[in-house]
Symmetry: C2
Subunit: 180 residues, 2 copies
């Protein structure tokens, strides 16, 4: 799976053939079918496996923390850590889920909506607690998720920032913006 995810990160789902994957593992393509049922299984297990991890992360945050600022901080941290710990898989998760066939594609979108909704609830809590401005939640959540997900585009494990530092900078940006 890891080999396949890395190749799909570089070349996309359609741009990576079963023969490519097999060659990278010093096998013939036919041999792969003793381990997986088909090419789509790679995509399915990558997308749904990560979706579950992300959801578990935010569920845990909502169980443990009470203050909306804290919840947002920890939710961002959980998300960024999962992304950086599963870089290739996350890239595939973010970019290639569209290649899932129905009904899996619809199911994936459903899980995504559920995750977005958990963030929305945090923002609403924040407003109720008087900590956050009144904002368009749907819009704000999409903006937050996009800035988090973009991390997979440029993050390098040996770069200057740790996942925790990235999460902190992101949270600062989300909470306070650029203006002095």
């Amino acid at each position: 799976m890891e080999v396949a995810q890395k190749m799909m990160r570089d070349s996309g789902f359609h741009g990576t053939s079963m023969r490519d994957i097999a060659a990278a593992m010093n096998m013939e393509a036919a041999s792969l079918y003793n381990h997986i049922s088909g090419k789509e299984e790679i995509l399915k297990s990558t997308c749904f496996g990560l979706a579950e991890k992300f959801q578990s992360g935010i569920d845990e945050v909502n169980d443990i923390y009470f203050n909306a600022v804290e919840k947002l901080q920890m939710a961002v941290k959980s998300h960024v850590q999962l992304l950086t710990e599963n870089l290739d898989a996350s890239f595939v998760f973010i970019h290639e889920w569209r290649n899932l066939n129905e009904p899996y594609r619809a199911e994936f979108v459903h899980l995504r909506d559920k995750y977005e909704n958990a963030f929305r609830v945090i923002l609403q809590n924040g407003e109720d607690e008087g900590l956050f401005k009144e904002v368009d939640y749907k819009f704000a959540v999409l903006t937050i998720l996009s800035s988090m997900n973009w991390v997979v585009e440029w993050y390098k494990p040996d770069g200057g920032m740790t996942p925790v530092q990235i999460a902190e900078k992101l949270t600062d940006f989300i909470l306070s913006g650029l203006k002095k």
Copy 2:
């Protein structure tokens, strides 16, 4: 080109065949080659055409406006307007440029870096003018661009928000964040 861009938005570059495009135009695949040199030309003209429009937009903003806050506002507005006016093309531009072959892929990345740099200069101006906090510019620019680009994922022309309203909300978010 518009038909091809729309199909590639739905199915990706590799997921859209010349036969698919031809069928949507009531032609045979072979006939397409009287109009374009090959499949990659669709991707090239989409990606480089938009890259030039985005760059012109920010160059104009930098020529006309002086205050960094104004520049940022107008740069976001220009970006969002171009995105929403060319939704299918923008989607391909953002998601499918990786399928460009060299040397075009490298050239595209170069144009992208140039565009990012123009945003970075605006943020530096803002700090010099005492309007913006001291921040990690590279990080801030990537966050801003990601939140702008994500608009293509959910924007619907007949939805509740105009491009200008989206640009305003985004600018507010970028400048002031969520916290009260």
